[in-house]
Amino acid sequence: MAPLNHILALSVILFGLGAAGFVIRRNIITIFMCIELMLNAVNLAFVGFSRYLGDLSGQIFVFFVIVVAAAEAAVGLAIIIAVERNRQTLAIDEIDSMKM
């Protein structure tokens, strides 16, 4: 049985990796995967806290988060496809037609 500290440390590391990847990565799909990584870090924290507190509601929240992440993925990928069709690129740096 892993103690709460270990679970939280893993969760923080995953969240940090996701946030860093969001800033560093230049491919839209990878950036999107980084966001998913952050959401899963949140799920891990919820489950860890839920077991530590002996309270089931934390695990129920995880279901909500998974559902929301799925909805977000559906919309996000659709937007990414629309962008790709219009511009034939997935590099975030090339999508900057609105600079002053």
């Binding site: 939280l8 969240f15 996701g18 946030a19 969001f22 839209i28 950036i31 999107f32 966001i35 952050m38 959401l39 870090a41 949140v42 924290a45 919820f46 860890g48 806290f49 530590y52 507190l53 309270d55 509601s57 934390g58 929240f61 909500f64 988060v65 929301v68 909805a71 977000e72 919309v75 996000g76 659709a78 937007i79 990414i80 629309a82 962008v83 219009n86 511009r87 999508i95 037609s97 609105m98 002053m100």
Partner: protein, 482 residues
Amino acid sequence: MSTVQASDFICILPQIILSGFAILVMVFEPFVPAARRVMLGWFALFAVASAGAALAWTSTLPGTAFGGSVEASFFSIFFMALFLLVAALCLLGSFDYLARDHVQHGEYYALILMATVGMCFMASSTELILVFLGLEISSISTYILAGFKRQDALSNESALKYFLLGSFATAFFLYGIAFVYGLSGTTNLTALAERIHAQSSPPIMLWVALLLMFIGLAFKVSTAPFHVWTPDVYQGAPAPVTAFLSVGPKAAAFAVMLRVFLVTFAGEGAVLFWLLWISAALTMIIGNLGALAQTNVKRMLAYSAIAHAGYVLVGLATGGEEGSASVMFYLLVYALMNVGAFLLIAHLAGTGEHWTNIEDFRGLGFERPGVAACLTALMLSLGGFPTTAGFLGKFYLFRAAVGAGLTGLTVIAVVTSVISVYYYLRLVVVMYMQEGTPQAPSAPMPWPLRVALAVCVAGIFLLGLFPGNVLTLAHLAAMPLP
């Protein structure tokens, strides 16, 4: 565990009505011929009106529902009425815009309704998980709306940026909720407040949780330094959608901020105060200075929207009943003037929104005096000229701030809003004092848009001259907040 009763459903009746009609719009859409799809828009407007009637009924039965996770209070009803007003105005302004730009689809109207449902839950929920769900319902709907012209490269880009940064922010907000849950064992805001106040020295992790939630919400209300997405998204999105998302989700996120930061975390005053103080100052400076350099009207108004979020943050930093009431009054005023301005620009920009540069408005004052007068009134109100509501809104915010001893912040606010007069007046000067003819082909203004604009402009002057009743309502709504 409490069982679900009929009264629970009455508490969320406006949301139920909006969701039901949104689904109906989607079901009817394939059966309505393309030329008559505007009918779906009127149907959606009817839904908003019905939800308004339901809200009026709910307001006579205040209380909590579903085991204390949703409430009907003056606070929630004030904000829900604001969201319904914004939705109605944006619908009225969208009918002819969508036909003109060949994107007349029923989904647009359904998404506006869905986004409104999400915002209503954000304002009425006292449970962090439900707040999160409301936030996501409204965000996901507005991501799609921002990219609604899917053949248009700018609209795509706007949706992509809004989506990526919006989801990024959501993850922060959610991580904050996870820590709050871990530290206190509850996500119910009422129970949470009791547990926080019971502790003599709150754990340092609580501040981390607070900071994470603040970052998430700061993205949503576009405060500096989390504002970078705002100009691109507001410029690229279809203008009626910009009108909606520059006001609706922003006001909803401010409602969450008022509830979470001023009630639940009221004990963490000092940390929170400086957080709000610094971001208010930064937001006002960056927003107003950024707007000075813009040549595109939509982009200029995007920076102005950032600046206005800064003024509202001044009210949040003030706190107390006075501060909260002035925040709510200002959000209503801001909604009227910003929706009006973006809807008018949506009309003036012409097909495909080709003419959105400030220079394109040359000579509009002579060519179309009525339209120009309308736009002038909106700009003067945004700039905060006396007799308009924009002035009174700012006056109440700043007076509350001075009353609470925030002199430094008020000085920054006043100086930056004086700077803002320059860029609002520049548009007026271009319309009235520069030779030339307007670039966009002159199209007659459709009557639904006329109604929406009449409401906005009349509202600005009414609230500017006779603010009494609305201000009383705002104070009533702010009462439960300490």
